[in-house]
């Protein structure tokens, strides 16, 4: 399981500090999965980068705690973190995962060397484990002798899933838009496979996506990220039915539904604010149809609507979905 408390990470830019991740708090239990949604530049990937401590040189973790299986990992020395946490405890599926395999080595070589990096096993055992792992994602063990360019995008993605979910069996898997480079049919297959594996093992999965429907089908909890902070967080059904942040409402209304009566899809006008100088008060206020003067003056408090549901909005208790009107296409 993973618990994140008040994680704040900023990038230094020439114009000032880019406040990419602010006070992000969440926890994911064993077998559970959390989906983080938000538009591009909301700071979703920065959360993943901060959790794995693969910050670029200008990135700084300002504060926060990350507990993996109860162990604080942000304060660990770099070499311990590398040997004990990376991939052993937290693994990751990348945004363009098909490029995450080194083109000059066979798939098998890469699986085996990662396994042998973290577990003291012989080459033969490692090969057996690698075969078992790719078998679980419905790939023939002969692909271990193939080079990455000989596989299709979907196959590579499944190799990556085997690599991150099965090979070392970490506690946490971060999936950063794992299907964004795949077509819908392959995406469906890959997602199903991930969901199956997620149910079978003791993993916590943090699923990052800009696709609300992916999150809705894949996850147990959902966090909506806007301008570097979580604006709504809760159990997936609760958020879906009783969402109370205008941004979440806009996002959900922008997704076409198969069963509901035909409605015009909405768009949220405007663009996300600059993270170097975020607006005073509520970060969403400039684009919010319900914004009142208070929204532009004071930072909204976290309003707890239920045990497992909170919203960062001044009017969280009063907002109903029907009252929020965005423009339509």
């Amino acid at each position: 399981m993973i618990e994140v408390k008040d994680l704040t990470m900023h990038y230094k830019a020439t114009l000032g500090w880019v406040k990419a991740v602010n006070d992000v708090t969440f926890s994911v239990d064993k077998h559970e999965s959390l989906g983080i949604v938000g538009e591009s530049g909301a700071g979703k990937s920065s959360v993943a980068i901060a959790l794995l401590r693969i910050l670029p040189q200008n990135g700084v973790i300002r504060q926060g705690k990350v507990l993996v299986d109860g162990l604080e990992v942000l304060s660990l020395p770099g070499s311990t973190f590398r040997k004990e946490i990376r991939w052993k405890k937290i693994s990751m599926i990348f945004q363009a995962s098909m490029d995450a395999l080194d083109p000059v080595y066979t798939v098998g070589h890469q699986l085996i060397s990662i396994l042998r990096l973290h577990r003291n096993v012989s080459k033969k055992e490692a090969r057996k484990k690698a075969e078992a792992a790719v078998g679980r994602v419905d790939l023939r063990s002969s692909i271990l002798n193939s080079y990455p360019h000989e596989l299709s995008g979907g196959m590579k993605q499944r190799v990556m899933i085997a690599l991150s979910f099965l090979l070392i069996q970490p506690s946490v898997v971060l999936a950063d838009e794992p299907t964004s480079a795949l077509d819908v049919l392959v995406e469906d297959r890959v997602l199903k496979q991930m969901k199956k594996l997620q149910g079978e093992s003791d993993l916590s999965v943090v699923h990052i996506s800009h696709n609300v429907s992916t999150i809705l089908t894949m996850c147990d909890k959902m966090a909506v990220m806007y301008a570097g902070e979580f604006v709504e967080y809760g159990e997936i059904r609760t958020v879906f039915r009783c969402c109370a942040h205008p941004y979440t409402i806009g996002l959900l209304k922008a997704v076409p539904s198969l069963r509901a009566p035909t409605e015009m899809l909405v768009t949220i006008p405007g663009t996300p604010p600059s993270l170097i100088q975020p607006p005073v008060g509520c970060t969403f206020a400039p684009r919010c149809p319900l914004a009142a003067p208070i929204c532009r003056e004071t930072t909204p408090p976290i309003v707890k609507l239920a045990d497992d549901h909170w919203v960062r909005c001044h009017f969280a208790r009063d907002i109903r979905k029907e009252d929020v009107h965005f423009g339509t296409l």
Binding site: I54, W87, D102, P103, V104, Y105, I114
Partner: protein
Amino acid sequence: MNKVGRLFRNLANQLGVVSLVSVIILILMTLAGIFAPFFVKDPFAISGNTYLPPTYEHPAGTDSLGRDVLSRILVGTRTALYVGLGAATLSSLLGTVIGGLAGFRGGWVDELLSRLIEIFLVMPIFFLLILVVSLFGANIMFTVIAIGAVTWPRNARIMRAQALSLKETTFCKAAVVSGASTSRILFFHIIPNGIAPVIASSALLIGSAVLIEAGLSFLGLGDPNIISWGGMIRDGRKALTFAPWLSLFPGLALVVFAAAMSFLGDRLSHILNPELSKKTM
């Protein structure tokens, strides 16, 4: 027969006719160099038949001391290979490691190594070699080391550029995330992926290293204990009016070797760089 023909056609398609011929020439020259001691006449044996024109007995004539020129050319191939391969290996090893480290680590490491590369880059190669020879004597090993030591910056620059772009790739980030150490990423991911242009440039370097050594020998700065093409050209200089074959044949060997190496290197850089080869196809 048919199979051999097909193999040849495939190779010719891959390499192009010119580089295929170059490869064949280089293979023959290498074999000749390796096995020369077993079939040539003693290249040091002096006889009374000085300045003999090419005959059946001496296909390339004899020199001022009556030594067989062809034997000396063949044995000289060994010097050429030794100098070429030695200097190119040294240069690419140094260049790859230093350039890879500079590009991969970035920051002050990059600053420092880049300045070092630039310092070596502006050194006039020939004068440095002359300095080395006059300091350490005309020893072929020092010549090889000196050529390697002044030519690595080119390889280092290539490798640095490769490392700069490769370290941003997803698979290098994935390697970091999977717990690989810095040196492991550099040596197992960055260098194998970025080595191709360095190999091509080193192939070109083999040719130029041989030329540099020949130039040194021509100036009389070569190792006197070793038969080198440049030295032979120098020796034949005095007899140029009445026995031109003394300089002609070693010069021909030198030109053929250097040209074949350049053609091959050029072709290699195209083959190893898919973007370039697409354009030429």
